[in-house]
Amino acid sequence: MTDPPVMVGHRCAICLRIAFPPDPYGCEKCGALATELDEFELEAKGSVRAVATVHRHHHPSPSTPFTVGVVELVAGPVLKAIVEGEAVAVGDSVIGVLVDGEDNDGNPVVDLHFQVVT
């Protein structure tokens, strides 16, 4: 198995808060300027805290049904992302995968999804 992709977040040099995605404006905890925010690498690896399969969606992409999870990264931050696969369950271990997709205007984008580690 390949290593999970690395996600680049930030860590505040003043209050040490780690956040993902990195914020272009400043630190939400202490208000430090963005110049005080250092790049901080997070491994795209964690576990599923909550899961929902979406049956109705306002846009053609992604096509339904797709599954969204709340993923708690090993490094701490909690985020929401598409989790690939049919039978995703709370507690499953997941790693990040980069997926070619389209935005709502049909432009190509690379998305970070997660998939269950068996």
């Binding site: 404006y25 909550a50 899961v51 929902a52 399969t53 049956h55 969204v68």
Partner: protein, 383 residues
């Protein structure tokens, strides 16, 4: 934070309420929607339009300058008029501003109106903030709440069916409300059909239509001067607005924000959660009623689903939740919603709610959250 409450120094009372039915989008203009609700509130209060000293219009979707266009049709009296936008809580914030205006002593009789005509899409600012978001367009509000439902059900061993019972109750309440967008009693089977996201189904998500709601608030002096019916005046004990803080990774923001706003509102009102007889909460999605019942301290964590199942949150139960039908059945036309909640609570506390009357209701609460996230809570009491 100041411990002194403007609302206790100079008490504020709701003296009139009026509604335009919440309905699917139609050809009715927002002017028609708005003045219908205001005229009903004036009649209810026994107040003439020229007696109104200022007006706040809660609207998120109408665009610039709606108040004067609408309200001058009642007479261009030249009073101060201001639009108030606070996402789903826009109407609640209009009420908050009207109460503040009276409590401050600047005015004695003030209108809070909510009106909106959703045009599809919410034009919400977060999407244009230039703050990157991994979720992209794949996680819309109903999926956010479907994920909260998943987490709640997993944590407390609650079933899909138990969550759906919130919608069963609120659709039943809505069937008794002539102003509700959804007025049909539903079966559990109907509510569990038509999945949208996760365990959430169509009937566990609120309809966003159009409508209007108005309340008139007044000071003691205003009530005396205009010779209004003191016995039908309902006091606003507290009005609290807060926005989302940092709650630690993975903590549900909607419930955490509700908990701190609710606590501040109980404190300002000098009441306990157990004193609440009737309340309207932001049940845009069925799971929310369970989350907020617990966050507001109206039951213990993990207990809300069984309280709904036992009928405790029904009209006639220990505390009636969303007797209007809530956002799920009365509907969520955005601007009007928070004002309509106050209209329902006032009707309950006056003992004028007819088939929906919670027996011996004395203390009531209205709670809204909105994208941002924001939370607005009001506590009211009849004398």
């Amino acid at each position: 934070m100041s411990s002194r409450s403007l609302l206790s120094d100079r008490p504020v009372f709701v003296v009139g309420t009026g509604l335009h039915p919440y309905q699917r989008r139609s050809e009715t203009t927002y002017v028609d929607l708005g003045i219908t609700a205001v005229r009903a509130a004036l009649v209810d209060a026994g107040v003439m339009w020229p007696d109104i000293e200022a007006a706040y219009t809660g609207t998120a979707l109408l665009g610039m300058g709606s108040s004067r266009i609408m309200l001058s049709r009642l007479g261009a009296t030249g009073i101060a008029m201001t639009q108030v936008e606070n996402a789903s809580a826009s109407g609640s914030s209009a009420v908050a501003q009207a109460c503040l205006e009276v409590a401050s002593g600047r005015s004695d009789v003030v209108l809070a109106l909510g009106v909106d005509k959703p045009r599809g899409g919410l034009g919400a600012a977060p999407g244009q903030a230039g703050i990157p978001n991994l979720e992209g367009g794949s996680i819309v509000p109903f999926t956010h709440f479907a994920l909260l439902a998943s987490e709640y059900m997993d944590l407390h061993g609650v079933s899909d069916e138990q969550v759906a019972r919130v919608a069963l109750k609120n659709h039943r309440n809505g069937s008794l409300n002539p102003f509700a967008q959804r007025q049909k009693v539903r079966t559990l089977e109907e509510i569990l059909s038509e999945p949208i996201s996760g365990s959430l189904t169509r009937l566990q998500c609120c309809p966003v239509g159009e409508g209007a709601a108005a309340v008139i608030v007044a000071s003691e002096d205003g009530i005396k001067r205009l010779n209004l019916d003191r016995s039908r005046a309902v006091q606003v004990l507290s009005s609290v607005t807060r926005t989302e803080g940092l709650y630690g990774e993975g903590v549900g923001i909607d419930a955490a924000l509700t908990a701190e706003t609710g606590m501040a509102a109980f404190e300002e009102a000098n009441v306990d959660p157990s004193d609440i007889d009737v309340l309207e909460v932001h049940d845009a999605f069925a799971i929310e009623e369970l989350l907020y019942a617990e966050a507001l301290g109206l039951c213990k964590p993990g207990e809300a689903a069984s309280r709904v199942e036992s009928g405790d949150f029904d009209i006639g139960g220990s505390c009636a939740f969303s007797p209007s039908g809530g956002l799920l059945a009365m509907g969520h036309p955005i601007g009007p919603t928070g004002v309509g909640q106050i209209a329902e609570i006032v009707s309950q506390l006056r003992g004028e709610a007819g088939d929906r009357q919670q027996p011996e209701a004395r203390v009531g609460m209205a709670h809204m959250v909105g994208i941002g996230a924001v939370c607005v809570v009001h506590v009211l009491r009849c004398e």
